[in-house]
């Protein structure tokens, strides 16, 4: 069906909303974590089971894949509507019962339930405000009709029938929306600048080149609600006067590409993309560009170079992209999550948008909470929530036997913040003054077994491999830093290493060409700022207190804490741990490899790292 104007759109929507709704639905989580543990096979098994049990002929029962339900730790997840149950760790063997009992009779399967039902009372979900991720668990992301039914394209219909491009621009500016991809640049300023830039050809771009390790919020959005991004971009194109847009997607995300392509096709068929959208004189076309596996392409100017078909190397930004960007034309580039906020602002108004978050950081943000935390997953919270409430209330804190040490925020350009920062509000300004950045919103929790020198080495190694090589501070500086860090982790530290690292880090951040290079020292600078004693221990004592750097500690089992479970004994590759059942274990250090395997498996914190000379 081709929609000729916004009245037809509203007629279709009200038809959908008053039409027959499925009596009961099973939502199979289609997030990256659950897909990795077999969600697609479970969805297929449920669908065939529904047919087999003949349920589809009686009432409208459904089992669809939906966007990420968040609690990745417990996947594969299946949500039950309207009861609001969430079933955890569902396997193929559960499918028959799931259909006959849960779908057929609305009764949950007890063994798959967590202690908190309905799920909105679960401590993982209770503090969350799901605004950007509201459709996850509500729609099939491959269905445009589902999108319309949940308010989709209301904003575009309104804009094209009643708002001028300038008014849309003003709404975004007044909302105070800040870019969700990294630095938090005010979106409205970009919009106005691009709108006012001279030129008849303009572009809008979405950055979906999510390359930060430990971050999958953009992927979840592209796969869970692709049309929200597309509608946001269409509104942006209308506001600034662009007729062509590109979504740049990381090549490791084939499903994102597939979903976005399908969504574009569906929108074109309905007249929501293409020529004369909803009967107006506004035309807009969208195209997907697949990345080539280069982290640096997440940088705005490198991304544009890549779309132009060149090597993705950044350029110096003497002139902003909103003036001269893609093919030298005024270009509005935003992260996919920023775009997904736009329909909400246009539909509900800027005042509504500001009701969440803080005055300088309005709205919500999607975070990925991962690492050494009990409940990892995808979380949406208002900006300004404290780091502590995210890690401890939502995430449940460190795993048993471990204690919280740091949280790494913002990916390779971000920083590691210590326990004293737990009361810090998660917003763009507070994080950068503490030495981290919001980045795309990845939070990686680290505990007492995470070595901060090793973490700095890890991120520096990552960035060294991803440096595009154009400027020497980044290309050579990272290599020099990495060599020193590697030496420290291998027990070959030299006096003065820590001081040398400080010098190199400051030089790198002051002289690199692009934003990624300038921030490449952040993991090092922040760990030096908050955990310098660990560096000095590595340098002067050849000691790794976290039991991470092999050879720089001896493991020791505290007999008061040891339950005698024997997990360490099983894990030990050198077979030097001995002891009787239910008795405290002992280690024969003469043949110990100092590998830390016993520390990693101990759930009681009994296996500890001590200095080798003690």
């Amino acid at each position: 069906m081709f929609l000729k104007d916004h009245r037809e759109l509203e007629a279709l929507r009200s038809g959908l909303m008053t039409g027959p709704a499925p009596t009961r639905r099973l939502w199979v989580c289609g997030g990256p974590g659950c897909l990795a543990s077999g969600a697609a096979q479970i969805q297929a098994a449920l669908a065939s089971e529904i047919k087999k049990q003949g349920l589809n002929s009686q009432i409208d029962f459904r089992a669809d894949l939906t966007g990420c339900l968040g609690l990745c730790e417990k996947g594969p997840l299946v949500g039950v509507e309207p009861e609001g149950f969430l079933l955890e760790k569902v396997s193929l063997a559960d499918c028959q019962e799931l259909v006959s009992k849960t779908l057929g009779q609305g009764r949950p399967i007890e063994r798959l339930l967590s202690g908190h039902q309905p799920i909105k009372n679960h401590p993982f979900y209770q503090p969350q405000i799901r605004q950007i991720t509201r459709r996850f668990g509500q729609i099939n992301p491959e269905s445009l009709l589902d999108y319309l039914k949940t308010g989709g394209y209301q904003a575009l219909g309104l804009a094209l029938s009643a708002l001028s491009p300038d008014q849309v621009c003003q709404m975004v500016e007044r909302s105070g929306l800040r870019g969700r991809g990294g630095g938090g640049f005010p979106a409205g300023r970009k919009w106005s600048s691009c709108r006012l830039a001279p030129g008849t050809v303009k572009y809008v771009l979405a950055n979906g080149d999510e390359g930060d390790p430990g971050a999958f919020m953009n992927r979840s959005l592209m796969e869970g609600d692709p049309l929200a991004i597309i509608e946001g971009m269409t509104l942006g194109a209308y506001a600034v006067g662009a007729n062509k847009g590109f979504i740049y997607v990381r090549h490791e995300y084939p499903l994102s590409v597939e979903r976005l392509n399908r969504a574009i096709e569906a929108a074109e068929k309905m007249g929501l993309l293409g020529k004369g959208i909803l009967g107006s004189s506004f035309s807009f076309n969208l195209e997907i560009v697949l990345g080539g596996g280069a982290f640096v392409c997440g940088e705005s100017t490198a991304l544009m170079a890549s779309i132009e078909g060149r090597e993705g190397q950044p350029r110096v930004k003497y002139v902003r992209s909103t003036q001269r960007g893609l093919w030298e034309a005024p270009t509005l580039l935003q992260n996919v999550e920023t775009w997904a906020n736009v329909p909400l602002i246009v539909e509900h108004g800027h005042e509504w948008f500001k009701s969440q978050g803080t005055s300088a950081n309005p709205g919500t943000k999607v975070f990925c909470l991962v690492g050494q935390v009990k409940r990892s997953g995808l979380v949406e919270m208002p900006l300004g929530t404290t780091i502590g409430s995210l890690v401890f209330e939502v995430g449940g804190g460190s795993p048993p036997g471990r204690s919280f040490k740091a949280v790494q925020i913002g990916g390779p350009s971000g920083g590691c913040l210590p326990e004293s920062a737990l009361d810090l509000p998660l917003d763009f300004d507070n994080l950068s003054s503490a030495g981290a950045i919001m980045g795309s919103g990845g939070l990686i929790v680290m505990d007492n077994l995470s070595c901060m020198v090793d973490v700095a080495r890890y991120f520096t190694g990552f960035l060294m491999g991803e440096s595009c090589g154009k400027c020497s501070p980044c290309r050579e500086g990272l290599t020099l830093i990495y060599r020193i860090l590697e030496g420290l982790c291998q027990g070959q530290g030299r006096p003065g290493d820590t001081l040398e690292l400080k010098k190199l880090a400051s030089l790198l951040s002051k002289t690199a060409l692009c934003g990624l290079g300038q921030s490449a020292a952040n993991p090092l600078l922040s760990t030096l700022r908050y955990f310098e004693e660990e560096y000095l221990e590595h340098e002067n004592e050849r000691f790794c207190r976290s039991g991470r750097c092999q050879g720089l500690f001896w493991p020791k089992i505290d007999p008061d804490l040891c339950s005698g479970c024997g997990l360490c004994q099983e894990a030990c590759p050198a077979k030097v741990i001995f002891g009787e059942k239910k008795q405290a274990r002992q280690i024969d250090l003469a043949n110990c490899l100092s590998c830390g395997a016993c520390l990693a498996v101990c759930p009681f914190g009994a296996a500890q790292a001590v200095r080798q000379d003690s």
Partner: protein
Amino acid sequence: MDSKESMESREAKDSIKSQVEGLLGSRPRQARHLLAVLQDIQAAFRYLPKEALLMVSEKLEVSAARVFAVAGFYKALSFSPKAERLLTVCQGTACHLRGSEKLIQTLESRLGFKIGQSSTDGRLGLETVNCLGACALAPVATVDGAVHGHLTPEKALDLI
């Protein structure tokens, strides 16, 4: 003998050329599609044959220098053939914290070749990826695109 070999290699070159011709036909012949075309060729041959790159240069009217520069820049593209099956270990931060580095070391020593290399018969290759977004299942790896979580070296070896 020599002439037979060169005939074979000529045949191989011709077959590459006709395949590339087909791949080029599926996209508009504009310079901006260079990366996409190279990705198509990579997918078809598991590497970028020199003949193919020269053809792309000619048909898209882009200098050979630029074609080779782009081919060398992106990690998804390679000048030498990738293995038939790939074991790709995630080295995202969550996987790193949960021991992906030890996993990689063990795999390298058991398989007898390093990350970025293949077995001598070209059947199996070992690679790393920055993050797969399945952090809750760390450490993870993919075999032919399918993701496997909570890996130990033994489990990973079983996969292949």
